[in-house]
Symmetry: C3
Subunit: 138 residues, 3 copies
């Protein structure tokens, strides 16, 4: 599991696009990578990873990983661990972390002091794509 | 638990409304039915159902199911199992799956190759209503 | 844990701003307070609190709470329990409850009969700030 803080990229985009007021949608194009808002503190990342590994152990039996019965989507996303990522799909379904939206007020994300936007890898590390869509007030 | 893939309905709506760029909000009008984005693969549905049944067993004691003390909302949604669905409410609160929003770019959902939109029934099967709201760029 | 029903405040804002059609984004400015849609029934609040206390016991070891190794964000939000809220951060990461968005149709939230908006305190009680942003159709 990997927490990538993408807040600075989002802030730079807002500056570049000269947005005063509006909002932004940030979407992960993947079913096992999550967009999430939380605090930037390394202990939290480790706590969450430990918690999740117990909740959904990767080594448990998953139908999704059973290639003796599976018939759908046998071609995986590049870098995926041979599609054997049932635990990541269950976690992503539980978390529902496909996207976040954040109001922009006076050129800034309307965040409290501890809020940051993360892309969280729920499967093995690999290239991931995130879309940011800005809606501006005119 | 039931996974209903509603992606085609959403795509047809986007075509019918001739949306080029914008985004769509998809909302479940229910507190025990979820809108979620994930992969279309039957094993995943079973894995998630198995996982969730252990996490929140329907037969455990729930205050929500205890009609000897409960005073609120004793008239249920049509088809609900006599309101005895405490496990479904806990799961829905955890998942937070009331809605999803997805950018539309060049007439298409800005999805990766494996992303699909589901309505997931967290309680007993029954008719469910979903709202889709489109915001278009002019 | 505390469930605060903020639906009336949101409805009053929609009336005051004379919104006919559009949508609203409701954002918590905190990393341990959640915005969520569910049913208003006291038993559900207790069921969820009981469930969550077992899932993420506050007294378990969390890296976030270990001030002998932690180096980041040692100044806490006012009222936070000396930053020792690793369980609340894990829960918030799992729930992903930074914001909700709801379509507004004919001057009303496009909700089903049982849906209400809550601010849910996942840590100790203290003042919390929520932002509501309205986007109107013209």
């Amino acid at each position: 599991m990997d927490f990538v803080d993408i807040t600075k990229d989002i802030e730079n985009l807002i500056k570049k696009e000269k947005v005063k007021n509006g909002f932004i949608i940030i979407l992960s194009k993947h079913t096992t990578a999550a967009v999430r808002v939380n605090e930037k503190e390394k202990g939290i990342y480790k706590d969450f990873e430990n918690f999740v590994k117990k909740l959904l152990p990767p080594k448990r039996y998953y139908y999704h990983n059973d290639l003796s019965i599976r018939t759908e989507n046998l071609v995986c996303e590049p870098g995926a661990s041979d599609c054997l990522n049932g635990h990541s799909h269950c976690l992503h379904l539980l978390m529902g972390a496909t996207s976040e939206k954040v109001p922009i007020i006076e050129g800034r994300l309307a965040f409290g002091p501890f809020q940051r936007i993360f892309l969280i890898e729920l499967d093995c590390a690999r290239p991931r794509e995130v879309i940011a869509q800005i809606v501006k007030e005119e």
